[in-house]
Amino acid sequence: MRRIMVGVKRVVDYNVRVRVKPDNTGVITEGVKMSINPFDEIALEEALRIKEKGLADEVVAVSIGPADTQQQLRTALAMGADRAILVQTDANLPPLSVAKVFHGIAQAEQPFLVLLGKQAIDEDNGQTAQMLAALLDRPQAVSCSKVEVTDGKATVTREVDAGLETLEIDLPAVLSVDLRLNEPRYVKLPDIMKAKKKPLDTKNLGDYGVTEGSPFKTVKVEPPPARSKGIMVKDVAELVGVLKQKGLV
């Protein structure tokens, strides 16, 4: 079975304006819309396209999170994933623990490709793909904007500061995907109905030898310092005047 594993994280929706809790212990997530991390949606879309080209047989969506994460996995199944695995925990795991859980799943599932988002938009760590590749001792390609799978290999284009970089990697490999790789499909109503019948297995951290908790301690979470209110100018002459006065031009 030629299998692709895709990581799906439940995060505060892209459009929500995040607010810090008054006691500085975190951000407010109660009553806030949750969605699939947008980068993970792109990873899933890419997996589905690879399967639709006949280059894979099965797409497995995996997530770690509270019971409600089933909602995001059902969305992934409605998009076209064949089955899903939820490693259920209320703990917020550090990236290395996430990579260890994914490592355990990869050992059981033996995917030829693992596709993950390049970062989750909640904690912006951007570590899991690289760590999983290290634990598996396999190739990694971070921030992919183009993926071509051929026999036992992949040619990937990465977005780097200098432009674009192309790598050839042996499979199995772990890829993290960037925004411009593809545009994820919309889920249609019949697919949502179909997704309810697809298998969704629930596991726990102990199944992968990972414990709750993190060696990292949150000291505090604060809002960023606000910028002071600016001024409006009426025309170019006034703009140039202000810039000159500030010694900026």
Partner: protein, 316 residues
């Protein structure tokens, strides 16, 4: 307690990247730090000299190997991890550029720790501030003192360490198996002759309102007039007006110029994340309600197609 910090140099084989100087500057904020710089290369001679001249560097550790011709994470990471362990380093820092974001988490996993991503301030040897939620919250995190600290440094948050030092250069070899499963094919990037976006003191960025790749020449003309780098919003990159390496924002480049022009950019929070540390933000937009005006220091409402050429002329 003293800290022994290894900074992983970013370079292109000939030139030390300015991001390395930012990472050294961050390392220098760690109390009691002794800072070494690791240069992995096929031929490190030029880059090692430049690293040795960075103030605050105690020693440059050089690992020359033909396999280090290109900075492949799968090849670099085991060598850096080995250097870190063998040298008894308490901290391993790299820049939070696409280079560091690729290599450093792999190093962290090999050392058995999670990474502290995008350090924006050092509060103690094991306490750091970093942005989360696209910079809408700032997390202060304390990491254990009994394990190595692996971190990437948010380059926009630190002034480059000055030059003027003369650290010794020490060649070494690392005894570790390097994989052949990852092969470099090519790299393409625009060499524009303009200042580097990430290091420039002035940046002119254009957004979707430019309407076409051709119209972006207005942005280039203004940038060239004031010696600025050119940037763009995600919308402008997605529309194909400019290449991806010009993108400024949460998932593009995080920059901190003295002067930033946001032209025809509405100011989505993901874009603002990329310019939070800009000293002065000038916004030009025809929509007076555009969110960019909430964060701009100087705002001008109007048609960019009239204003930008006029501004270019006025700055002549």
């Amino acid at each position: 307690m003293s800290s022994k910090i290894l900074v992983v140099a970013e370079h292109d084989g000939a030139k030390l990247n300015a991001s390395t100087l930012k990472a050294v500057a961050c390392a220098a904020k760690v109390p009691g730090a002794s800072i070494d710089v690791a240069v992995l290369a096929a031929d490190a001679s030029a880059v090692a000299q430049q690293a040795a001249a960075v103030t605050g560097v105690a020693k440059v550790v050089v690992v020359e190997n033909p396999a280090n011709q290109e900075p492949l994470a799968a090849v670099y990471a085991p060598q850096v991890a080995k250097l870190a362990t063998a040298g008894g380093y308490t901290h391993v820092f790299g820049p939070s550029t696409t280079f560091g974001k690729d290599v450093m988490p792999r190093v962290a996993a090999l050392l058995g720790v999670s990474q502290v991503s995008d350090v924006m301030a050092v509060e103690g040897s094991h306490v750091f501030k970093r942005p989360v939620y696209a910079g809408n919250a700032i997390l202060t995190v304390e990491v254990p003192a009994d394990a190595p600290v692996v971190a990437t440094v948010r380059v926009a948050s630190f002034e480059a360490a000055p030059l003027g030092g003369s650290a010794p250069i020490e060649k070494t070899s690392v005894d570790v198996a390097l994989p052949g499963h990852t092969r470099f094919v090519s790299r393409s990037g625009a060499t524009t002759g303009r200042p580097d976006l990430q290091a420039a003191s002035r940046v002119v960025s254009g957004g979707r309102a430019l309407g076409s790749a051709d119209n972006f020449k207005l942005i280039y003309a203004l940038a060239d007039k004031i010696g600025a780098a050119v940037g763009a919003s995600r919308a402008a990159v997605d529309a194909g007006y400019v290449p991806n390496d010009l993108q400024v924002g949460q998932t593009g480049k995080i920059i901190a110029p003295e002067l930033y022009f946001a032209i025809g950019i509405s100011g989505a929070i993901q874009h603002m994340t990329g310019i939070k540390d800009a000293r002065t933000i000038v916004a030009i937009n025809k929509d007076a309600e555009a969110p960019i005006f909430e964060s701009a220091d100087i705002g001008l409402v109007g048609d960019l197609f009239q204003i930008v050429p006029e501004l270019e002329k006025a700055l002549g």
